[in-house]
Symmetry: C2
Subunit: 397 residues, 2 copies
C-alpha cells in the first residue's frame, strides 16, 4: 500500500519508514525537520551521527533498490500543500508521528507550551480535515501516549486499551456505559494527545474516518534491522534533559561514567517498548484498521513496565556507575503502580524484545560506541513544571 | 474588581460588559471584531442595528458616567500583546467569550472548521499561558456549552454539573471515581469546548489556576436592562442559517410571515436561557470563584428545556405562521430527552426569566420592530455536517 509517514525523520518515524519500505510498501516521508531544528535551538545533537534526509534516502535506495519519497512540509502551517498532497498521491494510509513529543520540552517555556499546543493540535486537525476534504478512504494511524491515562487512577484494574466500561448510577439503577478512559495528562505534551483523542472520536463519528490511536510507552533502543544496515541509516539517540527518555539516558550516562539521574524517589512506574517493536506495531496497526463507522481503535503499545529506580539499579549493578537522586522537575506522584492491558498486539502476533535481551547490545553498539559525542552540560533536566522549582547543577564537569 | 471581557463585542459579551460595568466593576473589552467580520463574509447583518464599539462605549459613558475600555486584539494570533495587557492592567478576573460560537458555521467548510479549531483552542490556551506567565492570581470564567455532554447518554440520570461519579469495576470490586462527564460533541464548534475542558483541567491541576466553566444552553432574547437604555446600545440579534439560534429565529420568522424552520422531526430537546440570565450568571460566577488548587468549577447555565417542535408549535399558535419541516443538516439523533441539573445557580440566587414571560416582549420589541431589516435569502440553514447532505431551497422569495 502507499503510506505517508508524517514525522518520518524522527526517532520513531525514520525506522518505521524503513520498516514499511522494507516489507514492500510505497513510503513517502512528510516532515518539516522540526526535530532537527529543536536540536539547534537546544544546542544539542543526537548521540548517534544521523545523516540528512536526502542522504538517508539515497543510501536506502543504494542498499535495497527501494524508493522512499520525501516532502518537506509543515503540517500545522501548510494545510493547502498537505491537502494537495493527498489528492496527488492518493495514499491508502497515513501514519502520524508529526507532533512535538517531549514532555519536558513542552513545559520549558511559554513559547514551548504554545508551540506544542499549536503544532500538535492544528497538525492533527489539519490531517483529519484534509482526509475528509479529499473524499478518499485513507486510514489514519496516530501515535498517542500511555500518558493520556495518567497513573494509578483505577485501583487494581489494569489500564484498558482506550475504553473503560463503567456503571453510571441513575434513578432506575446502575447502567453500563463504555467511555473513553478519563484523561489525566501530566504535561502540555501529554495534554495534546488527550486533545487528539477527542478530535479523532469526533471525526470517526461524524465522517466515518478509520482511525487507530496507539498509546505508546517509553521507547528504548536505537536500531532496527533496517537502520543497522549502514551507519548512514542510523537512528537518532537523545540523551539531553528535554528529549532523552529514561532508559536510553541511563545507558549513555553509564557509558561516560555520569551518575544515573533519578528524579525524586524513582518510584514512578513507566511502560516501555523497544523501537524494533514500535515499527512492528505500526505494521500490525496498518494491517488491521477499523472499519468505516467504527469508533477509534486503540492499542496500548507497550511490552513491559518498570519503576525508574529499578532500571537505575539494574544499570548500576551492570556497570558500577552510581545513582544520583535529583529534584523532580515534574508535578507528579512520587510513586505509582502501573498495570497495563496489552492483549491486542499480542493477539496479533507481536513477539517483543525485552529489556533483559536488548540492554547489552544497546549499551555496546550505541552508548559506548558514540560516548565521545556526548555534551555533559546537556544531561541534567532543567525544564520545570512550575516556575521556581529546583533543578540540579551539572554533576560532571 | 477589574475584569477583562474577551469577546466583549459579541451577543453575550456586550450585554455582560454593560452589566458588569453597571454594578460597579472596571470593565475592559478585548475583541478583534471577528463576529462582525464573519457577518461581512456571510453577507448578513444583525437584525438589530448594532453600532460600532467606539460609539457603544461613548453612549454608555454619556448615559452612566462609567468608562469601559476597549482593546482590539486577536487572542489566537497576538499572544505577546495579550500577555503584556495582563501585566499592564493587572485584572482580577477574565471572562472569556472570545471563541467562534456557531455550530453550523464550524461545519460550513474546511476553512471554517480549521478556523474554529485554531481560533478557539489557541485562544483559550493563550489565555491560560498568559495568566501563568503573569504570575498574578487572575480568576478565569469561560463560556462552555451544554453540547459538551452530548444528549441522552446517561439514561434517566440528569446531566450533572461537569462531573459524574461512576463505578469502575476492578478485581477487588467496584470503586467509585468522579470523572469529567464524558464528551460527546456534535460539531467542530462543540468539539472545541470539549478541548477547552481538558486545557482547563490541566492548568487548574498544574498551575493552580482558578477556573469556572459555564456550560450554557441556547441563549434567547436580545435586551438586558442596560442594552435597552438607548437604541445605540442595542444587542445583536442573529437570524441567519449559521448564527441564528432556534428560538430567536422562530420569532423573526413569525414577524415576517416566514414558515418556522424545523430541522428533521424537531424532536431535539434543547436547553434555554434568557440573555438577562446569562449576564447575571456571569456575575454570580465571578463572585463565587473556586479556590486555588480546586478543580475547575462547572455550572450548567440553563433555565428551561424544550423540544424544538414544541417551540415551533407554541410560536405558530401565537402567530398563525406555519411550521415547515426541513431536512436536518446535522448528524444527530432525531429525538432526545434532556434532563439537566441546574442547582448551583439557583442556590446562588438566580431567579430566571422564563419563556412564558419574555416571548411577547421579544417578539414585539425586536422581531417585529426590525423585521424590515431581514434578508430572507439568509434564513435557510445551508451548512451541512457531511458533504452532499440535502438542504432546503428558500421558502420565501
Amino acid at each position: 500500500m502507499k503510506v505517508l509517514v508524517l514525522g518520518g525523520d524522527g526517532f520513531c518515524g525514520w525506522p518505521t519508514s524503513l520498516h514499511l519500505s522494507d516489507i514492500g510498501h510505497d513510503v513517502i516521508v512528510v516532515d518539516n525537520l522540526s526535530r532537527r531544528a529543536i536540536d539547534l535551538e537546544l544546542e544539542v545533537d543526537s548521540l548517534t551521527p544521523i545523516r540528512p534526509m536526502g542522504e538517508r534516502i539515497r543510501v536506502w535506495k543504494e542498499l535495497t533498490g527501494k524508493d522512499i519519497g520525501f516532502v518537506n512540509l509543515d503540517l500545522a502551517e501548510e494545510y493547502d500543500r498537505f491537502a494537495q498532497l493527498l489528492i496527488d498521491e492518493q495514499p491508502d494510509a497515513i501514519v502520524h508521528f508529526g507532533e512535538q513529543r517531549a514532555a519536558p520540552y513542552s513545559m520549558r517555556s511559554t513559547k514551548a507550551k504554545r508551540y506544542t499546543i499549536d503544532n500538535n493540535v492544528r497538525g492533527a486537525h489539519n490531517v483529519l480535515a484534509a482526509i475528509v476534504e479529499s473524499g478518499k478512504d485513507i486510514a489514519l494511524v496516530h501515535l498517542g501516549t500511555m500518558g493520556v491515562y495518567g497513573y494509578g487512577w483505577s485501583g487494581s484494574a489494569p489500564i484498558p486499551e482506550g475504553y473503560l466500561t463503567v456503571k453510571v448510577p441513575t434513578p432506575d439503577g446502575d447502567i453500563e456505559r463504555e467511555i473513553l478512559h478519563p484523561a489525566n495528562p501530566g504535561s502540555v505534551y501529554h495534554l495534546t494527545k488527550t486533545l487528539d483523542q477527542l478530535l479523532f472520536a469526533f471525526y470517526a463519528k461524524n465522517d466515518n474516518l478509520r482511525i487507530t490511536d496507539l498509546h505508546q510507552g517509553i521507547v528504548w533502543g536505537t536500531q532496527t534491522p533496517q537502520t543497522a544496515l549502514d551507519e548512514r541509516l542510523i537512528n537518532r539517540f537523545d540523551y539531553d534533559g528535554d528529549y532523552g527518555t529514561v532508559l536510553n539516558r541511563f545507558l549513555m550516562q553509564a557509558a561516560i561514567g555520569h551518575p544515573l539521574t533519578v528524579h525524586g524517589t524513582g518510584g514512578q512506574t513507566r511502560a516501555f517498548i523497544h523501537i524494533r517493536d514500535t515499527v512492528r506495531c505500526i505494521q500490525i496497526a496498518l494491517e488491521n484498521p477499523p472499519a468505516a463507522g467504527d469508533q477509534v481503535k486503540v492499542f496500548n503499545q507497550v511490552t513491559e513496565t518498570y519503576r525508574v529506580r529499578e532500571l537505575a539499579e539494574l544499570i548500576s549493578s551492570l556497570t558500577g556507575v552510581d545513582v544520583a537522586n535529583l529534584p523532580n522537575p515534574r508535578k507528579e506522584a512520587a510513586e505509582n503502580d502501573l498495570n497495563v492491558s496489552r492483549d491486542k498486539f499480542q493477539a496479533l502476533g507481536l513477539n517483543p524484545t525485552l529489556l533483559s535481551e536488548g540492554l547489552l547490545e544497546e549499551s555496546r553498539d550505541i552508548a559506548q560506541k558514540y560516548a565521545g559525542r556526548a555534551d555533559t552540560t546537556k544531561i541534567i533536566a532543567r525544564s520545570v513544571w512550575n516556575k521556581g522549582m529546583e533543578t540540579s547543577p551539572d554533576l560532571v564537569k
